[in-house]
Symmetry: C2
Subunit: 276 residues, 2 copies
Amino acid sequence: MEYKQLVENIRAKRSFLCVGLDSDINKIPPSLVKFNDPLFEFNRLIIDATAPYAIAFKPNIAFYESLGAEGWRSLELSVSYIRKKHPGIFIIADAKRGDIGNSSKKSAETFFKKLDFDAVTVAPYMGVDSILPFLDYKGKWVILLALTSNEGAENFQLLRTGKSERLFETVLRTSSKWAGKENLMFVVGATRANMLVIVREHVPDHFLLVPGVGAQGGSLEDVFKYGNNRSCGLIVNLSRTIIYADSTERFDEVAGQKAREIQQQMEKLLKKEFLQ
Amino acid sequence: MEYKQLVENIRAKRSFLCVGLDSDINKIPPSLVKFNDPLFEFNRLIIDATAPYAIAFKPNIAFYESLGAEGWRSLELSVSYIRKKHPGIFIIADAKRGDIGNSSKKSAETFFKKLDFDAVTVAPYMGVDSILPFLDYKGKWVILLALTSNEGAENFQLLRTGKSERLFETVLRTSSKWAGKENLMFVVGATRANMLVIVREHVPDHFLLVPGVGAQGGSLEDVFKYGNNRSCGLIVNLSRTIIYADSTERFDEVAGQKAREIQQQMEKLLKKEFLQ
């Protein structure tokens, strides 16, 4: 998907919500057990219920691969389903890959050719080699980890790497020379919303993928206040808060209501100038 | 596998060779196309031919997942095959995972429960949360990226994080407080053999997994000289140099010969005191 289209979708849906498909075979409603592929069935219903309020879906790859070949099949089906039924939606593989050379090329092949994702989350530790192979695909995106929402982020991401900056800032500054706002985004956790001001000094124009609102305690208002730019510039992900909002047979309906609530909060935040 | 057993295996086989199963469906000999699962067939023959000279195998997960559910099946079969036919061998999932919370737990489940790997390579950027969930499995290992063999390693790993150390040193120093030599190893590339002296100042006792000898140009002699400790402390990985040494129907025989050559170089390097 092109940058322009993504911004246009946010404007049209008055939403910058991404629904995280952290679909766990042990947590989905018992009513789904009877299906041949319960995980896909869960996703299908969640996708249909929330798609009107979301501009992106983000399957968490770890959850699918823990089921081996079968889980991989559920993932393939889910991505195809979104493409077919909700063609305008941006699909993110939350894979946190980060390798070099042929391995990176294979990962890009996996997520952009074998599966038709729009974007993959990538870890920066191994440097430019982890990123370039993904950028060979036109219209596809790398979403690079910058400042994550967990406590362990402090172990390395907040280390001072120079007199005036921290590691996550060096990652932003260095990697934004490798790719522009058209095919590179950054992960910045909502639990560090005050840091968004610093993030925006380095990358004013790039999109940020923001996890950590909801279950992890981050504030949507603060994320928007400190992180938005003229094109919105934010994709805020919620997973458990939406997909496990209810565990009865009405789980999809409740998930849809929850997504709608969040879309309405987002619509209020989005500036009138932007929405016109 | 326990630390003691690993050291014992190195002593018994007079080898610290790991064979990297970077098995690429586009590179395996054409004679295998007729098989139902050509990738597994390739692995099976490479495994049998090289196992006498190797103490570890390391499937590169990116190569398998690029084939989707089918590739995942080949991986499952390969790991089971090693376990059954060559029970003493250490099996490393070169997955370079690095996430937090439930996602990390799922990854640990994938590689240690669903598949019976001994170890997984992990990226340090997200900190302690990426590592702990793997350490809940007794006898299993995390192999943390420290200083990699690629050029891009210079982007971040070599940044000064304090007056007297670089990021990879902080990673070594910090993470070696989370786990001891019994369940934590580090990846250090052979192309930076001179840095092994610095690595050993921080982690004298931990095992190091060393890629980059062979195709990438690192020297086995230098790696041993600067990196070995009283228990050998090294697992040196070669992939392409061995598995693609030949592309005729004799590819497995040639791979075995190549592995044997390297084992013999390793035997010469291993100190007499250690081998007794």
